[in-house]
């Protein structure tokens, strides 16, 4: 029950990051980094924050829900079977990141080739941050108790915060 509440919480927090915090950061804090000759900044922010990161958020939500359903449905009789889920977690995380990179590359190459190297690095950093917030944290806190250490880095948090 507790992990379901956690999923709901992250389902609410995810859009807040994607639709409010991220565009605000791009428009204020990182505006100077993205600025490049010939680049329509407002159009860039609208397209990146409004399309690229929304698609990325949807991908993350889908994979998180799949992960939670999988760990909820699957009995965990042996330690080896639970440990094997870590490999699956890495696979899911890598695929998500790869999808983010592909989407970003396509968008940069086709729409905003003027983007500076600093801007590209910052965009990738924001992508990574999104994955941390939208995939890693939810899987840390919303995995069923038996799988609480299957997510890398979960041991950094007190076990009392982990799922039921």
């Amino acid at each position: 029950m507790r992990n379901l509440v956690t999923v709901v919480v992250f389902l609410v927090l995810g859009p807040m990051w994607t639709f409010f915090a991220l565009p605000w950061l791009m428009e204020t804090v990182f505006l100077g980094v993205f600025a490049a000759p010939g680049l329509q900044l407002q159009q860039f922010i609208d397209e990146v924050a409004g399309k690229l990161f929304v698609v990325f958020w949807l991908c993350n939500v889908s994979v998180v829900l799949l992960w939670v359903i999988r760990t909820m449905q699957r009995r965990a009789p042996s330690a080896a079977k639970v440990a094997a889920m870590r490999d699956r977690w890495w696979t899911a995380a890598s695929l998500l990141l790869f999808a983010g990179l592909v989407l970003s590359s396509v968008m940069i190459l086709l729409r905003f080739p003027q983007l500076s190297p600093g801007g590209i690095i910052l965009l990738l950093a924001l992508l990574l941050t999104s994955e941390v917030l939208l995939f890693w944290l939810p899987t840390v806190f919303a995995s069923r108790r038996s799988y609480r250490l299957a997510v890398p880095g979960a041991q950094l948090f007190p076990k009392s915060l982990m799922g039921g």
Binding site: R75, A76, P77, S78, A79, A80, K81, V82, A83, A84, R86, R145, S146, R148, L149, A150, Q155, K159
Partner: protein
């Protein structure tokens, strides 16, 4: 409390096997008192007896487990020493390692020469076959042979120093220190060794207690009446052997003797039997006599448990029988709720340990603790990642404890499985599910259906999952007693397996 249990013959050994398991499960403890100390002594002329060896295996494995857990647990195997007084072989105590026959014991040749009348009397009482039977193979269902041999023995003789000497010394010492002492004999009265040994040893012990002036040491007995038959019988060249057709005759004679003489020897007597007889394979004894454990033996030990309570009304007789002709369930056992709770707890621990947790630990051998904990978060609660242990999961002591717990679990599961499989006849057993008591090479997922219940079962099916137990292990907070390692894991599991 100090409890001294004596198992006479094959059935007596099986009862001691049951007593050892029930002692581990805490069923021989009295509420509000320190754990009961149990000392066991086997009386068996047949060194090769498979039943004796099985009981000794259970004893050895339980002692090994207690040794590795000593001082490291707060609940499981905590206190209540289990002492082994060994095997007293009445034949070897008279004849040493050589062969011995009735004719040799009573020096028949000399007897015939000096007093032909006495020699003739011996021929009347014992057949030629009985007189020349090698007694190292047991008494072959002939109580008079055993009685004649054992009644000639002085228990406190120096030749029995390792067995009776220590046993009687401890009884004397405990009585002297004002401890609550109980002596309990187990044996069948329809075979050879038990039928001759229980009354004889009882009589010898009563004489010894009186001689020592020990008044407050009740001497009780659980006597097993016929509860099994043999599928076949011996061939012509088998020689002397126990015959099922003689069981009733032997029983009648033994009960007649006890009603006349046993009243003076025993404070309480528990008579256990079964109308639904289980059919064991025919055997003259030795290694081939591998009769499985039986519910009657459990009842015999529950008699011992009953005798630990307050002394009942003198000269009173209580009877107990099952409620349903065609089945036996928990409500048929004395102290049914408590017995169900303890046996269910032991079964759960043995099953979850042997068929799941131990398999996890075995698979983790060679892995680092960090890696193992990815799949077993509960391990972080019991194993620390310090020094060499981080590489090998647990210390040498932890590994020894795991092996000891494995062996103990296997012994317990074998006993429970036999107990629940050999009820005999068309009697349906509704205590534990025998299928769930098998040792499995793969991980067991659920403990559901392990313990048959009179109720509708646990509130949530999920709670019978092994995973649920593991989550509880992970959630469990260390109390005042910091139980670590395999010992701590076993101790915590023992607590979690208790489902009142």
């Amino acid at each position: 409390m100090k409890l001294f249990a004596i198992g006479v013959g094959g059935s007596g050994a099986k009862c001691l096997e049951a007593a050892i398991h029930l002692h581990t499960m805490g069923l021989l403890d009295r509420e509000g008192s320190p754990p009961t100390e149990l000392g066991v002594l086997f009386v068996e002329p047949d060194r090769q007896s498979a039943l004796l060896q099985r009981a000794q295996t259970a004893l050895g494995r339980t002692q090994s487990l207690r040794k590795v857990l000593d001082g490291l647990t707060q609940h499981f195997c905590h206190g209540g020493e289990l002492k082994d007084y060994g095997v007293w072989n009445p034949v070897e105590s008279v004849a040493g390692q050589g062969s011995l026959t009735m004719a040799q014991i009573y020096t028949k040749q000399t007897l015939q020469h000096k007093s032909p009348a006495l020699g003739g009397l011996m021929d009347c009482l014992f057949t030629q076959e009985e007189q020349t039977l090698d007694l190292r193979e047991g008494f072959r269902g002939r109580p008079p042979i055993g009685s004649a041999l054992m009644s000639a023995v002085a228990l406190d003789d120096a030749t029995h120093a390792k067995t009776w000497g220590q046993f009687l010394g401890d009884v004397r010492q405990a009585a002297k220190e004002g401890e609550d002492v109980r002596i309990h004999l187990f044996g069948s009265v329809f075979g050879g060794t038990g039928a001759s040994g229980v009354p004889t040893v009882g009589c010898l012990l009563r004489s010894w207690l009186q001689k020592q002036g020990i008044q407050r040491a009740p001497l009780n007995a659980s006597l097993l009446l016929p509860y099994f038959n043999f599928k076949d019988h011996g061939a012509k060249d088998t020689g002397l052997y126990a015959e099922a057709s003689n069981f009733q005759l032997n029983t009648g004679a033994a009960l007649q003797y006890l009603s006349q003489e046993g009243n003076q020897d025993f404070d309480r007597v528990y008579l256990l039997g079964s109308d639904a007889k289980v059919a064991y394979g025919f055997s003259i004894g030795g290694a081939s006599q591998a009769n499985g454990a039986h519910l009657v033996e459990l009842l015999a030990v529950l008699g011992l448990r009953n005798s630990l309570g307050e002394t009942g009304q003198a000269d009173a007789a209580y009877t107990l029988s099952r409620h349903n002709q065609s089945s036996v369930n928990w409500s048929d056992l004395p102290d049914s709720a408590l017995t169900q709770r303890a046996l269910g707890r032991g079964a759960r621990l043995a099953v979850v340990w042997r068929n799941n947790i131990s398999l996890d630990l075995e698979a983790a051998n060679g892995q680092s603790l960090k890696r193992f904990c990815v799949g077993a978060p509960w391990a972080t609660r019991f194993y620390t990642s310090s020094s060499e242990e981080a590489r090998t999961l647990g210390s040498r002591k932890d590994k020894d404890a795991r092996l000891a717990a494995d062996q103990w679990s296997e012994a317990l599961l074998t006993w429970l499985k036999q107990l629940c499989s050999s009820t005999g006849g068309a009697l349906d057993q509704k205590l534990l599910n025998p299928v769930k008591l098998d040792v499995q090479p793969t991980h067991l997922e659920s403990l559901g259906d392990l313990v048959y219940s009179n109720d509708s079962g646990p509130a949530h099916k999920w709670e019978t999952d092994v995973e649920y137990l593991k989550i509880q292990l992970d959630k469990r907070r260390a109390g005042g007693f910091n139980s670590q390692g395999t010992a701590g894991l076993l101790d915590t599991l023992w607590e979690l397996c208790d489902q009142p």
